[in-house]
Amino acid sequence: MLTIGIDIGSITTKIAVMDKNKLLFTDVIFTGYNAEKAWREILDKTLTRLSLKPAEADRLVATGYGRSCVDIADKKITEIMCHAAGARFFLPKTRGIIDIGGQDSKFISLREDGNVGDFVMNDKCSAGTGRFLEVMARALELDLDDFGKISLTAKNPAKISSMCTVFAESEVISLISKGEARENIIAGIHESIANRVISMMGRSATPESLVLTGGVAKNIGIKKALEKNLNHKIEVPDTAQVNGAIGAALLGQKLIS
């Protein structure tokens, strides 16, 4: 039973192919300005790579902000449900998921039976998201992929007090002009994202077995900052960036049974 999950995010589009409970394939491309073009492209590429005909996929589930434009999807499911399903595939006993994507961050808590018990998302604001990191990388003239590594060498993380992407960028620029070490600036940026996410999670107790997903999970500095400020260990699946697509493909398997 082959199912495909496509997760169309604001920055990247992800695909996952599952055969029953086995993950066969994943891929990531940039979404660009045309979400429809992006999903068609990644789907064609995937089918070619796996030498599959479109009819050989039993179910296709779309998720992410661009899900509504996938007209051939058997079902469109929000990324909240898909991230929950994906995280449980990775760590069956997980009770909490922090997902930080390009344009939003969310915290999902799962009940004991695995169903979503509650979730919170950031309001209309890009603070504490992947977009925020991109803006900061541009201000620092660095490749975002190097952010995590560099931040680990910081001795004194700088204080970034503004939660707003635009104001935080000017804070970063003034730190640069003051000659602050860039590893300290980057570590400060990670701290500010971690604090933003933690305040969104609210005062409820941090669940055991917490999973971090989404593209931002690739950044080791964010993971460390969250662990430090939560005083709690966090698991990051290797498939963190494609976790939503995996969840979509898994929910596709459920549609069959």
């Binding site: 902000y65 499911i77 929000t78 990324e79 909240i80 449900m81 939003d104 169903n115 979503v116 018990g117 509650d118 979730f119 919170v120 998302m121 309001d123 209309k124």
Partner: protein
Amino acid sequence: MQTEYQEMWRDLGLDLEAHAMLLDSLGAGYREVFSSQANRPRETAYLDFVMSEVHGLRIKELLEAKKAGRKVIGAFCVFVPEEIVLAADAILVGLCTGADFGLELVESTLPRTTCALIKSAFGFKLSRVCPYLEAADMVVGENTCDGKKKSYEILGGLVDNLYVMDLPQQKSALGRQLLAGEYRRFLTAVEKLSGVEITAGRLRRGIEIVNRKRRALERLSRLRAADPAPISGLDALLINQVAFYDDPERFTAAIEKLGDELEERIQKKISPFPAGTPRILVSGCPMAVPNWKLPRLVEQAGAVIVGEESCVGERGWRNLTGNDGETVEELLAAIVDRYYKIDCAIFTPNPEREEHIIELADRLQVNGIIHYSLQFCQPYTIESRPLKSRLSRLSGFREKGISLLNIETDYSMEDSGQLQTRIEAFIEMIDRR
């Protein structure tokens, strides 16, 4: 409608060009949101008509009433007692506060961190596009939240007929005394404005008209709670919104007729939604015309709204006013009794509201509650948090899996994609149980 009423709008001092823009977008929005719904009750034709003439025929009626010597009083809040207004043969209308208009002008007058409802009231005034406001002989501002009471200081310089009504912030003997004093003062001001002496007979008649309207809305609330719901939450909200504009007696008659049709639909199980559609209670800030943003997203996502715990909804019409007093003073005391029960979030503490939400969720058999607050509305955003934690601990709610989703938004559409995701996820979550 455009050409027929041009002269009337010009005489009222409206900015004709801006007003035409407003009507175009209102008309397009109405068609998109309401006319596109499946299987509406046929009596919703009344709503279509009222909405198509909301700045036309209804304004003409008001102006004709004015010519005949009656007064028009505009208000922003359900604390302004319509009973007293009607007793003086005057007309009470709700003023426009449900859409962004002239935001640049507004933000040069008020801080940007003011809620959308207050900004909207100012936008309509500064852009000269609200015929109700321009036709009003008296505009009543009421001291509810800080945003409103401070902005009325500025509104007072923009209109020449602002009457400010103070309101208590605590349910205490002193608070009740303040409300009684303010209603007495308002009665005198209405008498002076209208030149009508308010007698016990007149006041009793006013109470009866408003009570009949409340009974019709209460019946609607009971009928729409059927499963499957005989009417969409959008149409039910619109009825609650129209209640602030139309003539109360005509409105009551139309809603009673609609109620008869709903009874018939319930018997035949006719509904705009398939059986088993998740049921939602919306609670929080009022939604004035044409603010249909949240209910539209909810019902498009495959749920039905079966109640509004809101001023434009249950909070606005629940509780009747006693009408067995013999004197003006006794009847006025009954009015104070009735309005004193309003569980607005400006009161501290405000436990009645929480109890009412719990009672409603149970009575309407809902699967989830969406708490709706306007961004920068401190009273409701602050109340949303303890409410959520109380519900999550409440036995009965936990077992039934009734959850609460907190939404904080404004009138702009820029966050509608994000809201759609949240609302869909919420419905997926409660639907799985």
